[in-house]
């Protein structure tokens, strides 16, 4: 067991657990966006930063990826952390204002202004969909490509992936694109699941082995019309 203190409270955790788990175990709230139980931690959104260490060596780390260490001193809501979180939320709002998840987070953290040039992006590249597809759906149909400002998510060569089972898991976990990535705008789709518009549950045999997360379900919607 590893003993550390979170906001002054001592806690013993199993080796290999993360700072986020330790803080949540004690009941300290840490906002997250790219973290989800059941998926490997990734550390992309940086919302979950906490301050570790003391004095000039104190630094901010993403709690979802940082392992607990003996004698570690964690502060989950120091002024440095709060300031960083606010700027991150401001950046998120500036890029993706239509996301309900981001709106709620910003509101909860008292972000009252957005000082950057307003953009309307569909994706914050949190990677939840990529990990969902790979780790839960065992498909690896989508992935990251490019770097820097041209980084994006998609299927190889931008063609409909043979691996995609149209389960809709990627859409289900997405904090930003729920609105656009449904069957309503097939040409803008990421995974190609909705673009295809062929009812997944009918096409794939046997359907019983598949999980369907698609809400609203493409097949059901089509039948309705």
């Amino acid at each position: 067991m590893i003993t550390l203190t979170v906001n002054g409270l001592e806690v013993a955790m199993e080796e290999g657990t993360t700072v986020l788990e330790a803080a949540r175990f004690l009941g300290f709230p840490i906002p997250t966006l790219c973290h989800m139980d059941g998926l490997s931690p990734y550390g992309a959104c940086r919302l979950c930063v906490v301050e570790i260490g003391e004095g000039p060596k104190a630094k901010l780390v993403s709690s979802c990826t940082y392992p607990v260490q003996e004698g570690q001193k964690v502060r989950t809501a120091s002024s440095r952390v709060v300031r960083a979180r606010k700027i991150i939320l401001e950046l998120l709002l500036a890029s993706c204002p239509q996301s309900k998840v981001i709106q709620d987070l910003a509101s909860a953290h008292d972000v009252r202004q957005q000082r950057f040039r307003q953009e309307h992006e569909d994706c914050i590249l949190c990677g939840l969909c990529v990990r969902m597809c790979e780790q839960q759906m065992m498909a690896k149909a989508i992935g990251f490509r490019g770097r820097g400002k041209t980084r994006s998510i998609g299927t190889p060569f931008d063609i409909k992936s043979e691996e995609c089972r149209l389960c809709g898991g990627c859409i289900y976990v997405c904090p930003a694109c729920q609105l656009r990535c449904t069957y309503t705008e097939p040409d803008k789709a990421i995974c190609g699941g909705c673009a295809n518009l062929s009812p997944p549950c009918v096409e794939k045999e046997p359907f019983d082995d598949m999980m369907c997360y698609m809400t609203p379900c493409v097949a059901c919607e089509i039948e309705k019309h």
Binding site: T65, R83, L91, R147
Partner: protein
């Protein structure tokens, strides 16, 4: 090439080679690294070979083709041994004359380097101010060694460090030697190399350990690693062999960027020669120690210089940094313990082993031992690679070795450490160059890029340039790095176009601090340095852009106007050149620029011979 089966066989080969060498033989040394070849060294080599053959001089005068010697300003240059005569900016015709002079053992005075201060020619390389101020431990070896001839390296005490390590019989003593030298990682962060080795040596791993040479040099304006790889690849192989013996690793990887074809070629040749000679592979020199090195080419991502991204790239995955801990020394390539050192660090290892740790530590200052190579570029007279002891002041490098500013205006600042570094203003040129002082001043040592800027450099533009670079080169994983850099670039763009506000300046500072704080890897954590350091030292310039809508350096196009002054003779050259047709005026009369049509491209300034165009 016959395989060497024991250390004794190596020893006798080395002494045979040394005995065969006559130090009095006149040798023409032509540096032909990528830089030398680009400026015409290949023609010089061709001409020299022809002349030597035609005149039947092949026995008396030797020719050695080496890697870069560092004095870029004088390329293509020629060095004549043993006199030490240095000829700068040689062309084919000059080369023929030089060959004649060497044959007669004389010197062509008119071809020599002319000292700018005294106006007198200087014959010996060592007397030229550029070389005089340096302590050339690594770069001097580039002069003596033909990189594609392993015997040439062995003859110059090559692989003696390996033999010394192997015969010591105690790997930990080798680690202690490196630790005692105080060598710190030359890649930028300055982690003590000996300590790193010790950590790896203590790791237990059933599946082997790895050593990596990080040759993914990507900083704009930095090329010291390339010069070592091209000029002396065996020193890196030897360093890695010593490291492998000391730490118990038996696999090495040289990760070199694909943009360095000559370095890759020379490394490949060197690796093959080592294999043939039994210096690399199974049972090295009959000692039972096995170590192999493979070469991996980087595909061109700047971020792959970061160690965890580099490891992922070697594994064949996307170059994307990951959280440390676990550090590579615990979990590296394929989960095996791995250490990563920079090219220059590995090249220093043989120096430490042959000369001894104490001798190495004599150079430099306490806590910052040895020499460091900087690539001195920008608005400076003597551009090139300079190797100086740690702790030397910036002033010495810029004004003594570098020869001061290239133009008429004063040096305003130097930018160290590439995109991760910062700008240090001229007022702080008394700052000693070591890891700690530079970090304290808001910059970093980095791998050794040093860009000199004069008054015609706009600091907002500099910050904007680096943000533009990093915007493309960030891996994009951390939201704050990807988006934060884009937003900083956006704000800087606004400021340089005169659209910025004071609130934006505060926001820029706040954002830069948060980006520094919240990103995961070294790239993101240092990405705001160009912005923060220019804000710290050159806030006035930012304010001038905002309040007065003026760019004092005359760089930001939206904030400057071109006009023609009384120097104009009416030669009409500018009006013929102007792509916008914005300049009008009749012959032999002062011309006028239509500031509305003017696109501020600067073409008129380039062609005007009378300093007739002003930027305000």
């Amino acid at each position: 090439m016959e395989r060497l089966r024991s250390i004794d066989e190596f020893g006798s080969l080395q002494s045979r080679l040394k005995a065969a060498r006559d130090p009095k033989t006149r040798t023409i040394v032509i540096p032909a690294g990528t830089c030398g070849q680009a400026s015409g060294a290949n023609d010089l080599i061709r001409v020299t070979k022809r002349e030597l053959l035609e005149r039947g001089l092949t026995d008396e005068v030797h020719l050695r083709i080496t890697g870069c010697h560092g004095f870029c300003e004088a390329e293509p240059s020629v060095l004549v041994e043993p006199r030490g005569t240095f000829y700068p900016k040689v062309d084919v015709n000059k080369m023929i004359r030089i060959v004649c002079a060497v044959a007669e053992d004389t010197v062509h005075e008119d071809l020599l380097f002319v000292d700018r201060a005294t106006g007198k020619p200087i014959e010996k390389q060592g007397d030229i101010p550029f070389f005089k101020g340096q302590t050339r431990t690594l770069l001097a070896r580039n002069e003596r060694i033909d990189p594609i001839r392993i015997f040439n390296y062995i003859e110059n005490d090559g692989y003696s460090a390996l033999v010394k390590a192997l015969t010591s019989g105690d790997p930990m003593s080798v680690v202690a030697e490196v630790k005692g030298s105080g060598l710190r990682g030359r890649g930028g962060a300055g982690f003590p190399t000996g300590l790193k080795w010790e950590l790896l040596a203590r790791q237990r791993s059933a599946n082997g350990k790895h050593l990596v040479c990080n040759a993914d040099e990507g900083d704009p304006g930095a090329y010291m690693d390339r010069s070592i790889l091209e000029g002396n690849p065996h020193s890196i192989i030897e360093g890695m062999l010593v490291g492998g013996y000391a730490t118990g690793a038996n696999e090495g990887v040289v990760y070199v960027r694909a943009e360095y074809p000559l370095a890759i070629k020379h490394l490949r040749i060197a690796l093959r020669q080592c294999h043939d000679l039994g210096i690399l592979g199974e049972d090295i020199l009959g000692t039972g120690f096995s170590f192999d090195i493979k070469l991996v080419r980087g595909a061109g991502a700047f971020v792959c210089g970061e160690e965890t991204a580099l490891i992922r790239s070697i594994e064949g995955r996307m170059g994307e940094p990951r959280q440390r801990p676990p550090f590579p020394v615990e979990k590296g390539i394929d989960g095996h313990p791995t250490i990563i050192n920079n090219v220059e660090t590995w090249a220093n290892v043989p120096v430490i082993m042959t000369g001894g740790a104490r001798e190495f530590a004599k150079v430099g200052t306490n806590g910052n031992t040895g020499t460091k190579i900087f690539s001195l570029v920008g608005k400076i007279k003597n551009t090139g690679l300079v190797e100086v002891p740690m702790g030397i002041t910036i002033d010495k490098i810029v004004n003594d070795i570098g020869g001061g500013p290239s133009g008429k205006s004063h040096v305003k600042a130097v930018q160290t450490g590439g995109p991760s570094g910062g700008c240090i203003p001229a007022e702080r040129f008394d700052l000693p160059i070591d890891y700690d002082s530079l970090t304290e001043a808001g910059s970093i040592m980095g791998s050794g890029g040093m860009i000199v800027m004069d008054e015609a450099t706009c600091m907002v533009d500099v910050a904007k340039y680096f943000m533009n670079f990093l915007e493309d080169e960030s891996c994009g994983k951390c939201f704050t790095c990807r988006k934060g850099i884009q937003r900083m670039h956006e704000i800087l763009e606004d400021i340089s176009q005169g659209k910025g506000t004071t609130e934006q300046l505060d926001l820029l500072e706040e954002l830069a601090t948060v980006v520094k704080d919240t990103t995961m890897c070294g790239l993101g954590q240092t990405a705001s340095n160009p912005v923060l350091s220019t804000l710290q030292y050159f806030r006035d310039e930012y304010v001038q852009h905002l309040a007065e809508k003026r760019c004092p350096a005359g760089v930001c196009k939206e904030l400057i106007t071109y006009c023609i002054n009384e120097n104009c003779t009416g030669c009409t050259l500018c009006s013929k050149t102007c792509p916008e047709g914005a300049i009008s005026g009749s012959k032999k009369e002062r011309h006028v620029i239509d500031t509305v049509r003017c696109s501020r491209c600067g073409a008129c300034i380039t062609v005007c011979k009378f300093d007739g165009i002003e930027v305000a």
